[in-house]
């Protein structure tokens, strides 16, 4: 990689700032309230607003959909330093991501590490162009925390695999174009050694989905069924029966994402809301218990952000941060949950409105419900604590 001098980087920062100011529409700088505010891309891409379209297309032209991937895959080819600057400048202006994509945050890193060059050329440019909407087929009804117990079967039929089984919790399965899937290819081997990592076109014959309704209401999650689905052999990533290493690698990226790494935009200042809603005494929140809880939340939120930065900085010097994704996942989601609980306490009866015309309140109460899933999805808090104790602290089994 080219080493960029400090002055070059300063220039890059100024240019980037100017470009973002000129090109990011005002409505794309408002905080994201829920997943409906994102553009998801895909074959049947639909923009939520004209501004969303403009923003996506400008970023696409600039090759900043995935600014840090290689240009041969449609990335922006930015160095780490440049990419950090872009992230910082986007955060400074509150710019939304132009697209929300599991292709970028989860599958991409796994393809980079495990796919053949041919597969990379086939799948990565589609991701950077926002043309494929990817979903994740990991969990099954009887394989949740014990993911390696999965039973969806892929039989070798010569020129293709034949898939039978079902997945659950597949986010956006009903809207996705493709699914990255864990399947069992060896039923005799110990459970971790018989799994393979397969990419499946959701338009294939025999794939069907059924939505799941959550406590927060309608949800993007689905059950996904595979009934004699034929999948070409070239869709196998990595080595047959060695899919577990890919699965784990991908999970570290998923966990960092869920833990909120790089998502500074959604951490809001609780105390400002609190001061608007709660009685004050000499400018202080007079409910001493709530004031204490807010201070603890904000203390840990802000130190957690420092910690993300510190660990990222360490990772750049070659310290292995892999198992630390469990720390990010655990701590970040526990913070989310307690933040939503506090926000609900602060906003009182208004924060409980399920129906009515107060749109903000309705979104917030659903976010409270949705946050309960944060400490479950991507591996529960208990599972993360287990990984920390075994892989980082080396405690015995």
């Amino acid at each position: 990689m080219e080493t960029t001098t400090k002055t070059n980087l300063e220039d890059f920062r100024l240019e980037t700032r100017k470009w973002l100011e000129e090109n990011c529409p005002a409505s794309m700088r408002k905080p994201v309230r829920d997943s409906n505010d994102f553009f998801w891309g895909g074959r049947n891409a639909q923009f939520g607003s004209e501004d969303q379209k403009i923003w996506f297309e400008r970023m696409l032209e600039k090759k900043w959909i995935v600014p840090y991937w290689d240009t041969k895959y449609g990335g922006g080819g930015l160095s780490n330093e440049e990419n950090n600057i872009l992230t910082q400048e986007m955060a400074r202006l509150g710019c939304r991501k132009p697209i929300f994509s599991f292709g970028i945050s989860m599958l991409g890193p796994a393809l980079h590490k495990f796919a053949s060059e041919e597969q990379k050329m086939r799948f990565l440019p589609e991701i950077t162009a926002g043309k494929t909407w990817w979903c994740q087929g990991y969990s099954e009804p009887n394989a949740g925390s014990d993911l390696a117990g999965l039973q969806t079967k892929a039989e070798d039929k010569g020129d293709h695999y034949l898939i039978n089984g079902s997945k659950v919790w597949t986010s956006y399965a009903d809207k996705s174009d493709w699914i990255f899937c864990l399947v069992r290819t060896d039923f005799e081997a110990p459970k971790h050694n018989g799994i393979s990592f397969l990419l499946i076109d959701m338009a294939s014959e025999g794939v069907s989905t059924r939505p799941i309704k959550l406590i927060s209401g309608k949800s993007p999650f689905c059950e996904t069924f595979f009934d004699n689905v034929k999948v070409p052999k070239e869709n196998l990533i990595g080595t047959l029966n060695d899919g577990w290493s890919i699965a784990k690698y991908l999970l570290t990226h998923e966990r960092q994402m869920i833990g909120g790494v790089g998502e500074t935009d959604i951490r809001q200042e609780l105390h400002k809301t609190a001061k608007a809603y709660l009685p004050l005494q000499d400018g202080k929140i007079s409910d001493g218990v709530l004031r204490h809880e807010i201070a603890v939340q904000e203390m840990n939120d802000s130190i957690f952000e420092m910690t993300i930065q510190r660990i990222m900085d360490e990772a750049k010097t070659g310290v292995n941060a892999g198992a630390l994704s469990s720390f990010f996942k655990y701590y970040g989601t526990e913070q989310n949950v307690s933040r939503m609980e506090l926000l609900t306490a602060i906003t009182g009866s208004e924060g409980l409105q399920w129906e009515g015309d107060n749109e903000d309140a309705k979104v917030q109460v659903r976010r409270l419900c949705r946050s309960k899933g944060n400490t479950i999805e991507g591996g529960t808090s208990e599972i993360q604590l287990g990984i920390i104790s075994k892989r980082i602290l080396n405690l015995p089994s």
Binding site: A295, S302, I303, T307, Y330, Y331, L385, G386, I388, L395
Partner: protein, 373 residues
């Protein structure tokens, strides 16, 4: 700016670790305690001076190393691990910092060289009450013909029993906070030492009509509160660095115990109830590491957010050190409450460190106030 140590800082940390493991292991702490609570070992102090640690935060113009507080914090962290006793925090972290920051050139020139070469040490006398409340000062400094008369009492003065001089906070007749340098042998000064839970000796000092010169006033007119606030921020951050050492060492010893102790035919570290508690501690300690380095960097940069960062650091470390030392004892079982093992020392030192320069609730409240709620 990255939140990691640079090469030089890393080297300093490693050399401190090596030096202290050799010259000041925890057994040394035990010996000092058993020798009637000896405050510190003079030979070790001279070696510390030779290592250059007393010069780390001193600017070049006073012949210091100008290495910065990040480096100083690494040394304190390592000292925390070994429970090393030396007047480094009191004399350098607090008093030399105060001198450097002041504009009284005479006091600076008189004292900084002697503090750096370790021939003398100074202690910082501010507390008057059982709780930390630095701004309501009852000690008075009334103007006299060619200076001031100091009257009042201070408590919990770190290393105050052996100090050559004190930096004292007092209230002037126009109701202003001011800081003074007072010789410990001055007439009217009585010193009484007390041993606290951590086997450290702290001084209670009484000032009765102590007469000092105008030139011994360290803070400029109208600047006393600012200087005091700066010292207390520095103190909170430096002590947080020491506390980080205590936290990590108590944690590491506990993890080692979980890996070796067997009950019910299995190592106790295999029990999930303990694993999850250990993993939670690990997370809190990760946060502690970040806030300490961030706050130390802020001291070096002269960051405008220093008040908030000092309170964040001391609050977080105060919370985590309590949790960690309690869990450490509990997970050691019966042996954890015996004087034979060292883990109890960390708990004892922790409780005193928690109180010094403001405890968890003081700093959490201050953090909320600084954020205007």
């Amino acid at each position: 700016m990255t939140l990691i140590l640079n090469e030089e800082q890393k080297m300093l940390k490693d050399s401190a670790n090596e030096f202290l493991a050799m010259n000041s292991p925890v057994e040394k702490f035990r010996t000092l305690r058993d020798e009637n609570y000896k405050p510190f070992d003079k030979e070790l102090w001279q070696e510390i001076v030779e290592m250059g640690w007393t010069a780390l935060t001193i600017p070049e113009q006073y012949n210091g190393l100008d290495f910065g507080y990040v480096g100083f914090g690494q040394v304190l962290e390592e000292m925390g691990k070994c429970l090393t006793k030396a007047p480094l925090l009191s004399s350098i972290g607090l008093c030399a910092t105060a001198l450097v920051k002041s504009s009284n050139e005479e006091l600076k020139n008189n004292w900084i060289p002697e503090l750096m070469n370790g021939t003398k040490h100074m202690a910082f006398a501010q507390d008057e009450k059982t709780y930390f409340d630095p701004t309501s000062i009852e000690t008075t400094a009334s103007e006299s013909s060619n200076g001031y008369l100091i009257n009042g009492s201070k408590i919990m003065v770190i290393d105050g029993g052996s100090a050559d001089a004190f930096i004292v906070t007092a209230n002037t007749s126009d109701n202003e906070t001011a800081l003074f340098v007072i010789d410990s042998k001055a007439e009217g000064v009585t010193i009484h030492t007390e041993t606290l839970l951590d086997a450290g000796t702290y001084a209670n000092i009484h000032f009765n009509q102590v007469s000092i010169k105008n030139e011994d006033r360290l803070s400029d007119k109208g600047k006393g509160d600012e200087l005091l606030n700066y010292i207390n921020n520095t103190a909170a951050i430096c002590l947080s660095a020491e506390m980080l050492g205590i936290v990590t060492e108590a944690f590491d010893q506990t993890i080692a115990y979980l890996q070796e102790r067997q009950q019910f035919g299995k190592r106790i570290g295999s029990y999930q109830a303990l694993q999850h508690r250990a993993a939670k501690l690990f997370c809190e300690i990760e946060l502690c590491k970040s806030v300490v380095i961030k706050a130390l960097q802020a001291l070096d940069k002269g960051d405008v957010n220093i008040d908030k960062l000092a309170s964040l650091a001391k609050a977080k470390l105060g919370e985590t050190i309590k949790l960690t030392t309690n869990e450490a004892i509990q997970m050691h079982g019966g042996i954890g409450v015996t004087d034979d093992v060292n883990i109890g020392f960390y708990f004892k030192r922790a409780r005193v460190a928690q109180r010094l320069f403001g405890d968890y609730s003081y700093h959490l409240d201050r953090y909320a106030r600084l954020n205007a709620y």
